[in-house]
Amino acid sequence: MNMLVMLGFALVAAMGTAVVFTGEPERQAVTLSAYGLSLTVLFILVQAPDVALSQVAVGTAVVPLMVMLAVRKVRGRRE
């Protein structure tokens, strides 16, 4: 395991922790997106570009968007 891969793992662990410690759901959508990006970097470092492409499309775009829209719907209902 080379230095870059170890850095990638450390980045993923740090971003994952950041997601867990983000309190409000709408902020969590943003940290989740950043976490998805760190996973993408890790996948590229371990030479898995196909998985990295899936991860960047689903993990940093579609899932956070769905979370944001769901939060917006829930907030709108409470008002």
Binding site: M1, L53, A57, A61, K73
Partner: protein, 244 residues
């Protein structure tokens, strides 16, 4: 099912997976080592079928049946989510949506990136058997690319350019085309999802037999599926309101 029975079923499943997982983890080749038995079998098989992107050759040729399963899971999830999120009898859909105020820089960037993203999506689908990517990745890129219209500030433009019925049909056609290609393999070569078309020259756009066709089917299904899925979320967040 009672709570107790559910826990028993859950416990059986978890312990089974746990045992198999630990056994598998103990026996797999070491991480980062040079010993890759699966690679040594998969790469020559992919090269023999003129598919430079070995991952695509695995997904759409050597293990195409798995991909059919995954594609069906996606189809079922989209249908399930759409059924859950449809407006109920105590809700109605507002026709006029007050557009949010958007920075003009965001609008400009959205409209500039829209054609670029759609092109990249098409490229990733079309060259799935040659370069990293494929139907799934390209499909998601296409679907999210279309939603740059919403990010750029015009939900009404997005709704006008997105005839949902068509996307529903395209999703079903994409999923069906995969199964039809599988059955054609059964008829022409005696095995479900057998790669029965000519392999062509290594690296050509039209090569690797059925792999690019299956990529196209999956790209069509995934792009339409994600668009239909996000449409339900967008409608719920923006236009569906409880009837008082």
């Amino acid at each position: 099912m009672s709570r107790r029975l559910r826990l028993v079923v859950f416990g059986l499943g978890v312990s089974g997976i746990g045992v198999v997982f630990v056994l598998a983890a103990l026996l797999i080749p070491r991480f980062g080592g040079g010993d890759h038995p699966y690679r040594d079998l998969a790469v020559p098989a992919a090269v023999a079928r003129s598919a430079p992107n070995v991952v695509s050759a695995l997904n759409f040729d050597q293990r195409a049946l798995d991909t059919l399963g995954e594609e069906t899971i996606l189809l079922a999830s989209v249908v399930g989510a759409a059924a859950l999120l449809r407006p109920t009898t105590s809700e109605h859909e507002r026709s006029i949506v007050a557009e949010d105020r958007i920075l003009s820089a965001t609008t400009l960037l959205g409209y500039l990136l829209l054609p670029v993203t759609l092109l990249v999506g098409l490229d990733v689908v079309a060259h799935g058997h040659l370069t990293p990517g494929g139907g799934f990745q390209g499909g998601v890129v296409l679907a999210t690319g279309l939603h740059l219209l919403y990010v750029a500030g015009s939900y009404s433009t997005l709704v006008r350019l997105r005839p949902l019925t068509w996307y529903g049909i395209a999703e079903a056609l994409g999923a069906g085309a995969f199964a039809v290609l599988g059955v054609s393999g059964l008829v022409a070569a005696g095995g479900f999802l057998v790669n029965m078309l000519p392999y062509g020259r290594f690296g050509d756009l039209f090569s690797a037999g059925t792999v690019p066709l299956l990529n196209l089917a999956v790209g069509c299904e995934v792009a339409s599926g994600v668009i239909v899925l996000l449409a339900q979320f967008l409608a719920q967040a923006l236009t569906v309101r409880a009837t008082r």
